[in-house]
């Protein structure tokens, strides 16, 4: 069991290195040296500093190694644009905001999405299922910038329940979280519904019924357990979806999170920030995947015992 966990954790390291590598190369490809061709004139002192920091006069593998070591030390380098701030500072300032937004949205989407999926599966092809499916379909088809706009239009602009932007008061957080949660919500709902429908077909559910167990017990003990656990494996894509969504939502609601900052960095040619954030987000998702894998291994007795 321990061996399984350790192995899984170790596997993550070459993956992360690979991602950093990819990002690194992509950054290099952006028109050669990010400094010489940048539109802003970088003062020579900073330029020398950056060159030394990034080792731009050294061959690429040295640069890469330097960067990796830095990342390992959690040092993402200086910002190209904001002279006195490092990428780390930027991240420290903006990431918690996004984390809060994403976390709340994830929570909301699970609290609503999972029960929706369960009800759908238990009342399959009847009215509750159709309604749930309808909501689901709307949720994933309508682009999030539109839902956000709708929410702002009615609840903020017209009726004034909430502010139209910002992230300071509790009420300012309501609309963005709802807007961001909508897509993962539908994802969860469909996932859980599918898993449950499949589990309900299984032989062991038939056995459970044949034992005369009360339907509620059959559902809770036999069906739900075996359905929700595989639903966990979707955590990776859901997290990715949250990141993507946050770019849009933060943009619309003017939330000072890392998604919004990313876009401004790209537009402002602050490539070290762009790279730093990309690496950070990628590591986040890779680690999340790893956790989910390990969780799944722990929860499923077959893997738990077999891997010893």
């Amino acid at each position: 069991m321990l061996k399984f966990v350790v192995r899984r954790v170790l596997w993550t390291i070459p993956i992360i290195l690979l991602v950093i590598f990819m990002t690194f190369w992509m950054m290099r490809a952006i028109k050669g040296s990010p400094f010489r061709k940048s539109e802003r004139a970088v003062p020579p002192a900073v330029l020398a500093n950056l060159n030394r920091k990034f080792g731009l006069n050294k061959p690429w593998y040295v640069q890469y190694e330097r960067y990796v070591v830095d990342v390992a030390k959690a040092d993402l380098g200086p910002s190209l644009v904001l002279r006195n701030q490092s990428v780390n500072d930027i991240v420290k300032e903006h990431f918690p905001v996004s984390a809060e937004l994403g976390g709340l949205a994830m929570l909301l989407s699970m609290l609503v999405g999972i029960p929706l999926g369960i009800i759908s599966a238990l009342r399959v092809n009847r009215l509750p299922d159709y309604i749930a499916q309808f909501i689901s379909n709307l949720g994933f088809a309508i682009p999030s910038f539109f839902t956000a706009t709708l929410l702002i239009y009615f609840f903020a602009a017209k009726w004034g329940f909430f502010p139209t932007n910002g992230w300071d008061t509790a009420s300012s957080k309501v609309l963005p979280v709802i807007a961001l949660a909508l897509f993962p919500l539908t994802y969860f709902a469909r996932l859980v519904r599918g898993q449950m429908l499949e589990t309900l077909q299984q032989d062991y559910v038939r056995t459970a019924k044949a034992k005369g167990l009360r339907w509620r017990r059959v559902v809770v003990v036999h069906v739900l357990r075996n359905s929700l656990i595989p639903a966990l494996t979707a955590a990776g894509p859901i997290l990715g979806g949250l990141v993507t969504g946050s770019f849009i939502i933060e943009n619309i609601f003017a939330i000072p999170g890392i998604g919004r900052y990313y876009v401004t960095s790209v537009q402002g040619r602050d490539y070290s920030t762009v790279m730093g954030i990309t690496v950070l987000l990628s590591i986040l998702i890779i680690v999340a995947n790893m956790f989910v894998d390990i969780m799944y291994g722990i929860l499923d007795p077959r893997t738990r015992e077999a891997r010893s």
């Binding site: 994933f140 682009p143 910038f145 997290l239 990313y262 876009v263 762009v274 995947n289």
Partner: protein, 314 residues
């Protein structure tokens, strides 16, 4: 040819005796209609799929025909006509420059859908290549490639797409296609690889090999027809993701440069006016949603039609 016992003549009964038996389960005879005809029949019985197919085709017709037929020049700036609400002359109204939105949305559709299909095909090819190499070589390479994909599953595609666009420097149709492909291939390659493995390990391939069928025969008679079905379903499943991706990028201002506009950039233009002229953002958004919904139900219907083993909900 359906086995209908009403038709069984006793002379043919004797021939049947020689043909041997074929058992079935739950009392329903296996229809021996061809795979395709069966699939088509199943598809056409699926109301949602048929309605969506019609909707999808309508959308395609709209984006193709309207720019040809429209009397309005999509780029003609005429401030006197600006911000007109939808009317008979301008079914979708006009934008801040007085340009007819009906034709602009159609043109935007050409770009959005075009990018969608192009990127989807590119993804499919990448996925097939990846899956083919991984599946057919097998062994540790397959294992390594698989682990690689597993770990990268769900990487957010926006950052990578953005960086790729920055590498190109310019954002046009083709750079967008490449960017979206580069950003989403992790997730889709995994799906395709799974399909190829399933197909390769399939019993009928083994059976074909067992009777000494040549590899090209296996490929064309067995693998390709099945892969075709999977590929078509894949296209309709991926298309919405790609179109949405492009729309998001455009909405953030990182998309196709003007004057060419995609649905996403039209939405971005319209967003600033959401209070005064909501139709400017409503219409492109609905277009996107329309595409996604119809594609989804078509994919669902196709999947059901081609794989008779999926659960029957009768």
């Amino acid at each position: 040819m359906v086995v209908n016992p009403e038709e069984v003549e006793f002379r043919s009964r004797l021939v049947e005796r020689e043909a041997g038996g074929e058992t079935y389960a739950a009392g329903a005879a296996i229809r021996q209609a061809s795979l395709w005809r069966d699939a088509v029949r199943r598809f056409t019985h699926n109301k949602a799929a048929v309605v969506s197919m019609v909707g999808f085709v309508v959308l395609l017709l709209y984006v193709v025909i309207v720019p040809w037929v429209s009397p309005y020049d999509p780029n003609n700036v005429d401030f006197s006509l600006a911000y007109q609400n939808p009317s008979l002359h301008h079914p979708f109204g006009t934008d801040e420059f007085g340009r007819d939105l009906f034709v602009r949305v159609a043109l935007g559709g050409r770009i959005s859908i075009g990018i969608g299909f192009a990127a989807t095909f590119a993804l499919m090819i990448v996925g097939i290549l990846y899956g083919a190499i991984s599946g057919f070589v097998g062994g540790w390479l397959d294992n390594a490639l698989m682990r690689f994909l597993d770990a990268l599953y769900g990487l957010p595609y926006l950052p990578f797409a953005i960086i790729t666009l920055a590498i190109f420097g310019v954002v046009n149709f083709w750079t967008m296609v490449v960017a979206l492909t580069v950003a989403s291939w992790f997730t889709t390659a995994r799906v395709m690889r799974g399909q190829i493995i399933t197909l390769k390990e399939n019993d009928y391939v083994r059976a074909a090999r067992a009777i000494g069928a040549r590899w090209y025969r296996i490929l064309f008679r067995h693998l390709l027809p099945n892969t075709l079905g999977v590929a078509i379903v894949f296209v309709f499943l991926e298309l919405p993701n790609v179109v949405l991706g492009e729309a998001f990028l455009s909405f953030l201002g990182l998309g196709i440069n003007p004057p060419n506009a995609s649905w996403g950039s039209l939405a971005q233009d319209g967003y600033s006016q959401y209070l005064s002229h909501p139709y400017l953002i409503v219409i492109p958004s609905i277009a996107i949603a329309w595409l996604i919904l119809t594609a989804f139900f078509i994919a669902d219907g196709l999947r059901d039609a081609l794989d008779p083993r999926t659960t029957e909900h009768v």
